[in-house]
Each structure stands twice: as C-alpha cells, then as structure tokens.
Subunit: 403 residues, 2 copies
C-alpha cells in the first residue's frame, strides 16, 4: 500500500497558485506509489484542524477548472509555526499526518510558507518520520531567494502593464490637457512589480516616466520637482510607485498601504497614490489621476501570463517528482538557461535558502537617478509576461471553481 | 464627384468607441457616393483647427487595429458649441467643412456630443448646407435617452463584474477573517454601472450584498448598520457604490470623485470608497479593502464584451447608412427586439432625444430597500456582457494602435 499526499497553500494568493496545485496533483496521480491525494483547507491551520478534502474523489473536470481559478483554491492562512521545534504544535501536526498516512506534504506559498515547510521537514528528519516535505514557491512580489523568479510574478507584471497601457491610451485621448498619472503597485520591500511596469509602451516609448522603488530612497521634494520638470517638456507624465517606497532613513512613507495616519502627520484615508496625487495637486497641477490596481494585480486570472501559468504548473509537478525521487526539504526553483530564446529548467533548492529572506532588485538594474529601471531589468521581466491563457467563460464571465 | 466624410469623437472614451469608427469607416468605404474619409483630431476642436487626417490613405491594417484599441483613437475634446445658433463659431465650422467638400459628418460621443451633432445639423438645415450630420452614441454610463442601451456600457459592465468576481475569489482565500470590500464604480447621476455589478457570482450567489445607486438616497448611518448586520450573518461583506451617490437632499456625497474636501468637512485625499472604508474602519471593523477600477473600467479593451464590440461597430456602420439614405439629425439607437434569445435592431432616433438628457435606472429595478437591484435589471444587463474579443498581442501586451 502506498502513501498519501497532502497539498496546502498559504500566504497571499496569486493568479496562478492553483496551477501549481494542479501540477502537483497530476504528478501525484501519475505515480503508482501514491494512493490518495488530499488537500488541507487553509494551509497548516487546516492540518491542525484536520480539515481535509480528498481531491482524488473529485471529478477530474474540477481540477482542470481549479487550475485557471485565481487565488488560493485550497484556502490560505498566515499561521507561522513556533520557532521552538519541540513545541507541542509540531507533535499535533505529525500525529495528524500519520493518522492519514501522509507520506508527502507539499506546501505552496511565499517565504513564510517556505519557512513552514522547512520547519516541518526538519522536524520530520529529527524525529524519524517517513514524510517528505517540499515547497512550491509563489509570490507576486518575486522576492524569494534561490530562484530566478517566482510563480505569480509574471501574471501580476502582465496585468500591471496592460492596465498602465490602457490607462495611457485613455489619457492620450485628450490632446492638450496636462495630466499627471500615478499608478501604485504592490511590493512592500522589493520593487519588482513597480519595476516590471516599465514594459508598457505607447507609440514605441516606455509609458512610465518615473518608477519609484523601495530599493531607492524616496524624496518628496525631488519627486515633485521631477514631475514639474517633466510637465515642462511633455503633456502627460506617468509615475509608477511601489507601495513600499521608503525615505532616506529607510522608513516607509506609509506604515501600511491603508494606514489612516501617514508619516507626514496628515490624516490619510486613501493609500500612497492618493497622498502623492494630493501633493501634486497642491504644488503643481490639479489634473492628477491615480490608478490603483490593488488586489486585482494578484488575482486577475483573466489576464494571466501564459509563461507564468505553465511554469507554476511545472513548479508543482516537479516538487512532487523531487519527493518521489527521495528528495525532501527543497522547493522547485527556476534557473534561467537562456533569455533569448527564453528557457528555464526547474531545479531543487534547499528550503533554507528561501525561508524568510527577501531578494531585492540589484542596484545595477536601477537607473543612476534612482527613479527608473535599466534595460537589464526589462530584459529580465519581458519573457515572463509572454503568452495568454484562454480561460472558459460562462454567462459572459470567467467560469472559475470554488470548493 | 462624390462628397467626403468626416468622423470625429468627443467626451469620455470607452473600450469600444473606436469599433464604432471602424464601422462608420467601412460603411463609407463601401459607398460609391463617397470619395475621401477624413477624421478630425479631437472632435469639434479638430474641425475648428482644420486638424484632419485622411483615413482613406491609411493602410487598411491600421483601421483593423484601431477597431479594438481602447479610448478615443481620433482624440477627444469637451468643447460645447454656443447656444446662440448665429454665433460666428458655426460659420467658421461650416466654412471649413465646405472647403473640404464634407457631405457627411458623424459625431461619436455621449449626450454632450449628441448635442453638438444636433446643433450642427440644425445649422446646416437652417442655412441650406448639403451636409448630413448624424450621431454615433457611446457612453459607459448608459444614460442616453432613446436607445435601449449605449455602446461602451456592456464592456465596462463586463470588466467591473470580472474585477469584482476575481476580488471575491481573492477575499475568500481566507476562511475566517471578517472582511468588508467596497468597490467604487463610475456613474455621476445614473447608477447603471454599479447596478450592472450585480451579475458577478461566487458559488452561484450574487457577490454584491449591497449596491448603492445615485437613484436612491444614501444614508451613512444606514449604510454602516447594514454592513454591521451583514457581518453578523456572514464572513465577507461586499458593497458596490456608485461614485455619484447622493444624500436625501439630492446632494452628492462628494462634489467630485477626487475632491479634496468632502461634504462632511473632512480633509479627503482618496475617493468615495476610501472615505466609506474609513468610516467602516472607525465604527465597525478594521479589515476593509477597496476596489477602485477607476479609468480602467472605461478603457479595458482586453476584457471587452463581444456583444458590445459588435454593436458599437454596427452603430457606426448604420449611422453612415442612414445618412446615405438621406436621413440626417439622428443617432443610431438600439431597440431590443427580444431578450432571450437576445436580439436588437438599430433604428434612427432624433438627436434631440439624447442631447443633454440623462436616463436613470427605473425605480422598479431597484430593490425596495434601496440598496440593491432586482432581477429585471440583471436580465437587462446580462446579454450585454456576453462574448469575448480575441485581440492580438505583441511582446505579451495588447497590440493597440495610435496615430
């Protein structure tokens, strides 16, 4: 009799996170060594509460639908395992895993989730449990170490570029109304998403005149004078700002994207883009628009990157393959073999590498002025937004699946 | 020798406004009575400044690209013609039209634009100019009289529903975190766009628990108690609000969507949704998300409604056909012949009907509680969001066209 598989997700969802689950499911279903394929509902919390679903009993049609459904189909949590590896929580988890004859656990998430998988793997080894634990990375933030890029990033990057491009066409509908457009992207510490928005073009020219990243100190006065100078030269000025931009002391401009009290002491109900728009209105020009894709950038499965969708699937698939080959304590990482033509291979990387670390944009990919990105960053991102996914629609809307 | 055609656009752009121009172009190109097809750049302003482009000289490939490109491809303006029909501006316009041998003028826009077309048509008749002037309607607000619905509305409605649906999947990633989600839609006086967002479903159930329309008096205390009561029953509560909601005295909650001073006297940098989110945070629960599609709802050609795209084309096509049949002073209006199966016919309606009027949601399509819509409204909107448009991509992004 074979062992059973358990799949779980945690952390912030993405457009392709379920594609990874579909990949892991398919690899497990192909294996004669595996009996049942379970999911735990809401990550490690679902393990602790024994909230399992037997995916093997699901009509195969549902797994196909789950694959293109955005956001954590297995439900997510933000539970962090105790740092004390003798904490009673671990024993409880492994008792439950044993009771369900789980031989393989695959944990799909960002750096906190890789930390969870890492802790579980170490505990299994230390206490002699015959359970392989591997990670399947995902994060729109693209900030995991040990991998060229992360599943979820390409789709978010594509959506942001499409949104910026369409906003530019909208703005250029008017010939001579000087306008400032500020698009805010996610990314608390790493500016990959803001930087990625450098790809959108209008008439062959990069739309984003300025890109403000958490990796470069943000100076409000310099921001205002840059906008003002640009308005002397051109009619429309586009700025992309990462929600995580920081001042020269490394303090975020906002303690939280939606914090009612900004660092300047103003009462602030909107987010960063609203604040910056208010400053531009006060000091430069009244005609300012904000574009705030907010959660849409991480869940817009209707505009997934085909490359991202396929790679996310393969990351899940390979995570299971590594485990079946006896490898545990790794995540599926991408190694870029070639950029043009684009080619990657998927390699096992120790979970230790990704757990709780953050990969920032290298300084040489940021323009010397600190307010834009270089061609190298664009070359890096470009292959990741390629291809579209033709998802099924029903009654005019995407036909997604929910348990 | 035949006459020439002049095409122009004005008002706020939509995702399908250029599809109407492509339809008008094709109908004109098919006619032996027509020589050249010009466009005026930036509406009536482009006429006044003789800023014309000869579209007949453009490679036909470009018209095909223009068709699926969002936002006013011919550029837009917000110029209103003088109410004094002997104003010198009219003489100037008709001198220019005569100089270019324009026999047909097609004006593509919302109610202000239909007013412009109407004034020009009356002037032509009064002064004996052999120029036919027809309107091609468009407005995401869907508030034109004399037509069942307006080109542009279906695509905006589809985009809003897709965005709400994906936001719901994102929100439901977490099992037990009570959350309030507020999505703001456009619509200053008519609530069609907010009402349309009633179609999005999660697990077969309407996502929007509450829909606040300009047609129903908005009461902040009632809003807060509705949200609070709903949170007692369920984990996630979704509210859709039209930017134009008004209090019982008919005063808008915000004088402008982005007005820094709200009606409550608070300093306000964000929009309406930020303000309402702030009130919910203050009085009910901290976990509130806003979804603000903003200009994306009117320019997201990547998520056009197939029905809207085709109907916009036909509206342009028929506007020219009517003129070639000798009919002037009309706009192409939709008459719904049947709802299931959906079928419309395109009929000429006097411009007078649409000019400067606003069609609101009928009271019987608003729930008696005033905070949602009825099945009748959903039945009305549903056919308009059907079908997708497979637009070409280049380097992973939509391959749009700009002059």
């Amino acid at each position: 009799m074979g062992k059973n598989v358990l799949l779980a997700q945690s952390g912030g969802p993405t457009a392709v996170i379920n594609s990874s689950i579909a990949g892991a499911f398919d690899a497990a279903a192909e294996s004669a060594d595996i009996d049942e394929i379970y999911s735990a509902t809401a990550g490690i919390q679902g393990v602790l509460s024994e909230n399992f679903i037997n995916l093997s009993k699901l009509p195969s049609e549902k797994i196909k639908m789950l694959r293109y459904t955005p956001s954590a189909g297995l439900k997510s949590c933000r539970h962090i395992l105790p740092s004390d590896d003798e904490d009673i929580e671990y024993k409880k988890i492994f008792d439950i895993l044993e009771a369900h004859n789980i031989g393989y656990l695959f944990y799909n998430g960002g750096n906190d989730s890789m930390d969870t998988a890492n802790k579980l793997n170490k505990y299994a080894i230390k206490h002699g449990f015959d359970i392989k634990v591997n990670g399947i990375p995902k994060t729109i933030d693209n900030d995991l170490f040990g991998t060229d890029h992360c599943p979820g990033f390409g789709s978010a990057a594509k959506y942001l570029n499409v949104t910026l491009q369409e906003a530019a066409y909208d703005t250029y509908s008017y010939l001579d109304s000087k306008t400032v457009i500020i698009m805010e992207t996610m990314g608390r510490n790493a500016g990959w998403l803001a930087g990625a928005a450098s790809l959108a073009e209008y008439k062959g020219r990069q739309i984003a005149d300025f890109i403000y990243l958490p990796e470069s100190a943000f100076d409000l006065d310099k921001f205002l004078s840059s906008i003002s100078n640009a308005l002397d030269r051109q009619t429309m000025v586009f700025a992309v700002v990462s929600e995580g931009i920081k001042n020269k002391d490394g303090l975020p401009l906002f303690t939280s994207n939606k914090n009612p009290q900004d660092k300047f002491g103003h009462h602030q109900l909107g987010g960063l883009s609203s604040f910056l728009a208010g400053e531009v209105k006060k000091h430069i020009i009244k005609r300012v628009k904000t574009v705030n894709p907010d959660i849409a950038q991480r869940c817009a499965a209707h505009m997934m990157s085909g490359v991202d969708y396929e790679e996310a699937y393969k990351a899940g698939y390979m995570s299971v393959k590594f485990a079946l080959d006896g490898v545990s304590g790794v995540m599926s990482a991408f190694e870029r073999v070639s950029n043009d033509p684009y080619e990657i291979k998927i390699v096992p990387q120790p979970l230790e590498l990704a757990a709780n670390t953050e990969k920032l944009i290298p300084q040489e990919w940021i323009s010397s002025s600190g307010d834009n990105v270089t061609e190298s960053l664009k070359d890096y991102v470009r292959p990741l937004i390629m291809g579209q996914v033709d998802i099924p629609f029903k009654n005019g809307l995407p036909d997604y699946f929910a348990f």
